[in-house]
Amino acid sequence: MTAPAAATPPPIELIGLNKWFGSFHVLKDIDLRVREGERIVVCGPSGSGKSTLIRCINQLEKNQEGTVRIHGRAYGASARENDAIRRDIGMVFQSFNLFPHLTVLENCTFALTWVKQTPKREAEALAMEFLTRVRIPEQARKFPLQLSGGQQQRVAIARALCVRPRIMLFDEPTSSLDPEMINEVLDTMVELAQSGMTMVVVSHEMGFARKVADRVIFMDQGEIVEEAAPEAFFTAPQFDRTRLFLNQILHG
C-alpha cells in the first residue's frame, strides 16, 4: 500500500463514536480510520453492532456521541450537507433493497437521474456499463423480483456503483443467498476490490476476508475487540473472545 499524502484526509474517520438505542449502548468508543483504497472486513457475533457501525458511516443511524468524517467532512451541519456527503458512499444491503416497481435498468439510473440530474441517455449508458461489469447486462429490462438472489445482489452492487462512489459499504451481502449464488456475488466484490475501491464489508465469508482484506476487525458487544491483517488475525488472534468466535465459525 502506498501511503497517501498526509494532506489528503482519510476517506472514513470515526472518532469516539458512541451510540445508544434507547438505553441500550450499541456502540462503545469506536475509533476507526480507513485509508484510501483500504479494504476492511468486519466480523463478530450477531448483535455485536456491526450493522449499526457500518450504518453510522453513511448516517442511516445517527450516533449520539463522537464524530464521523468522510473525506474530512463531518456530518451534522444540515440535512442537505449530510445528503451531499452520503453521495460519495455506495451501500449494498443484506436484503438487496432493490426498488421492485422499477426495472433493473431504472434501478441503476435512479440516483443518476434524481440526485445527479444526469441526462437519460447518458445515465442509461453508464448503467449498462456497470451491469456489464457485474455480468448481467441481458437482465436490464426485467424487474428485480424476476431475478435470482445472486443476480439481484449484483444489480444492487451495480446500482450503488453507478453514481461513482469513492467508498462502498457492504452489510452481509451474501448472508441471504443460497450457497450456489454466494460465489457469483463474492467474485464481483473481489473484482471491485482489485480496482482499488475503498471498501468496508460486514461479512462472515472468511475466504473472502483472507483474499482481499487489508484489515479484519472483530467486534463484540459494541466494541472493536481486535483488528489485524488477515494473516495475523486468522493465525494468531490475541483475545480469547476472538479465538472462540473463529473456532465457532471455522469449525462449527
Binding site: 453513511n58 442511516l60 440535512a79 442537505r80 445528503d83 451531499a84 452520503r86 453521495r87 458512499i89 455506495g90 451501500m91 444491503f93 436484503s95 433493497n97 432493490l98 426498488f99 421492485p100 416497481h101 426495472t103 435512479f110 440516483a111 434524481w114 440526485v115 426485467k142 424487474f143 423480483l145 424476476q146 450503488a160 453514481v163 454466494i182 460465489n183 463474492l186 467474485d187 473481489v190 473484482e191 465469508e205 475466504g207 473472502f208 483474499k211
Partner: protein, 457 residues
C-alpha cells in the same frame, strides 16, 4: 475466480460419479384439459357436487326469468300515467314510461332544461381532458392529471353555477380553460410529432438552437398566449345564474363524489405522512383529525356541518348548503383514505427507504419516488373500494335537503301522474349505481394487473 470460498468439490473425485438424467415432462391427463375437462372436474365430479350444480342453475334460472319477465316481457313502454300501466298489466310488469318521463330530472335534477347543455359541455371537456391520460404516445401525463384535479373544478364550477364573475373569479375560470387548451394542444403535439406543446412552439419559431433562457421565455410566452385566449373566451361567456338548490340527480351525485374523490387522495396522502411524521405536533394533529372523522358516521358529520358550521362563521358569511355537504364529504373521505394509505406505507419495508436515503435522496424524494408509488400500487383495490363507497355514500346528502340521484328517484312516485311508482325508478338507479361502481372495480382490477405484470415471481 471461484476459489473465494474454499471449494469442497475435489474431495469427491476418488469414486467415479453416477450420471443424473432428469425425466422428460409428460402432458397432463386428457380428462383434466379443455372446457369439458373443466366442467367435469369442477361441476360434476361427484353426485353431491352435481346436485349442487343443478340446484344452483335452477336458482339462477328462476331469478333471471322473473327479472326478465318483469323488466322486459311484461313491461309497459307507452302510457300517460301509472293508472294506464296498471290497467294494462297490473303489477306483473314494469311501468317504464314514468321513468322515461323523469329521466332528465333523474340525471340533471331541477336544473333549467335550456341550460342543461352547460353540464353536458363540462362533462365533454372532462372526458376530453382525461382521455390523453390513457394514450401511450402522450408523455405529459402527470401535468395533465394534476391540472385535471386542480384546475378543471374552476372551469366546471362556473359552467354549472354561472352568474356574475368578478376579476379574481374570471382569472381562475380562465386558468381552468387555459389548462384545457394546453392539454389539448400538448396532447395533439405529442401524438403528432412526439414533442410537447412548448417544444413544438420553440421549434416552429425556429429557435431550437437558441439559449435555454431564451427558449424558456418563448415557452412561457406561448403559455401566456393561451391564457389570454382563455381570458377572452371567459370574458365573452356570460352564463345565467343557476342556484345550487336546483342541482340534482346523477349530476349532483357526480359533483359531490367527484370533489370527494379528487380531494381525498392528496389529502389522505398528506394526513398519512403526517401521522407517521417524527414531529410530535404534526403527528398528533393528523392522528386526531383521522380518528375524529373515522369514529363519527357520515350522517352525523353532514348534520354537524349543516347546522353547526354557520355558528362558527362570522355573522353575515353565508356558506352554501351544497358547499357544506361537499366539505363534510371531503373531510370524511380523507380520513378514511389516510388510513388506507398508511396501511400501504406500512407494508413497504424500511430497507426501501434506507436504500433511497443511502443514495443521497432526501425525505421527500424518497417518499415521492420510491415509497409512495409502491404503497399506492398495493393499495389500489382499497383505494378504489373507498371511491366506490364514497360514490354510494353520497346518497346520504338527501338528509340535509340535497336532491341527489336517490332523492330524485323517490320523487318520481310522488308525482301525481305516477303516484306510487317507486320500484321502477329504484331499479333504474340501481342499474346506474351498478354500472358506475362495477366499472370502477373492473378498472381497478385491470390497473392492478397491468401494474404488477412485471413483478410476479
Amino acid at each position: 475466480m471461484s476459489d473465494v470460498m474454499t471449494p469442497a468439490g475435489s474431495a469427491f473425485e476418488a469414486t467415479p460419479a453416477r450420471r443424473f438424467t432428469p425425466k422428460p415432462a409428460r402432458p397432463a391427463p386428457a380428462s383434466t384439459l379443455g372446457l369439458r375437462g373443466w366442467i367435469r372436474q369442477n361441476m360434476f365430479s361427484s353426485a353431491p357436487n352435481a346436485l349442487v350444480t343443478l340446484l344452483g342453475l335452477w336458482l339462477v334460472y328462476v331469478f333471471v326469468s322473473a327479472i326478465v319477465s318483469w323488466t322486459l316481457v311484461n313491461a309497459v313502454w307507452e302510457a300517460a300515467s301509472r293508472r294506464e300501466c296498471l290497467d294494462q298489466v297490473g303489477r306483473g310488469g314494469a311501468c317504464w314510461p314514468g321513468v322515461v318521463a323523469w329521466i332528465p330530472n333523474l340525471i340533471y335534477g331541477l336544473y333549467p332544461k335550456d341550460q342543461v347543455w352547460r353540464i353536458n359541455l363540462a362533462a365533454l371537456v372532462l372526458v376530453a381532458w382525461a382521455i390523453p391520460l390513457w394514450l401511450p404516445r402522450v408523455r405529459s401525463k402527470l401535468a395533465i392529471g394534476l391540472s385535471l384535479v386542480l384546475l378543471f373544478p374552476f372551469f366546471a364550477s362556473y359552467m354549472f353555477l354561472g352568474g356574475e364573475k368578478g376579476p379574481v373569479w374570471s382569472a381562475l375560470i380562465a386558468l381552468g380553460l387555459a389548462a384545457f387548451f394546453w392539454v389539448m394542444a400538448t396532447s395533439a403535439a405529442e401524438i403528432a410529432t412526439g414533442r410537447s406543446f412548448g417544444r413544438l412552439v420553440v421549434v416552429a419559431l425556429g429557435a431550437a438552437g437558441r439559449s435555454d433562457a431564451y427558449r424558456r421565455r418563448l415557452h412561457v410566452a406561448a403559455l401566456l398566449v393561451l391564457y389570454v385566449a382563455a381570458l377572452a373566451v371567459t370574458a365573452s361567456l356570460s352564463l345565467s345564474f343557476v342556484q345550487t338548490r336546483l342541482w340534482g340527480g346523477l349530476f349532483l351525485t357526480v359533483v359531490i363524489s367527484g370533489f370527494g374523490i379528487a380531494f381525498s387522495l392528496p389529502a389522505g396522502i398528506v394526513l398519512a405522512l403526517g401521522r407517521r411524521s417524527r414531529m410530535p405536533l404534526i403527528s398528533l394533529l393528523s392522528t386526531t383529525f383521522i380518528e375524529l372523522f373515522r369514529s363519527v358516521p357520515l350522517i352525523t358529520i353532514l348534520f354537524m356541518f349543516n347546522t353547526m358550521l354557520p355558528l362558527f362563521l362570522p355573522a353575515g358569511v353565508e356558506v352554501n348548503q351544497l358547499v357544506r355537504a361537499i366539505v363534510a364529504v371531503c373531510l370524511f373521505a380523507s380520513a378514511y383514505m389516510a388510513e388506507i394509505i398508511r396501511g400501504g406505507l406500512q407494508a413497504i419495508p424500511r430497507g426501501q427507504y434506507e436504500a433511497a436515503s443511502a443514495m443521497g435522496l432526501g425525505f421527500w424524494q424518497a417518499t415521492g419516488l420510491v415509497i409512495m408509488p409502491q404503497a399506492l400500487k398495493i393499495m389500489i383495490p382499497n383505494i378504489v373500494g373507498n371511491f366506490i363507497g364514497l360514490f354510494k355514500d353520497t346518497t346520504l346528502v338527501s338528509i340535509v335537503g340535497l336532491f341527489d340521484l336517490l332523492s330524485m328517484a323517490r320523487a318520481v312516485g310522488e308525482d301525481t301522474r305516477w303516484l306510487g311508482l317507486f320500484l321502477e325508478p329504484f331499479f333504474f338507479i340501481t342499474m346506474i349505481y351498478f354500472v358506475v361502481c362495477f366499472s370502477m372495480s373492473q378498472y381497478s382490477l385491470n390497473l392492478e394487473n397491468r401494474l404488477s405484470a412485471g413483478q410476479r415471481r
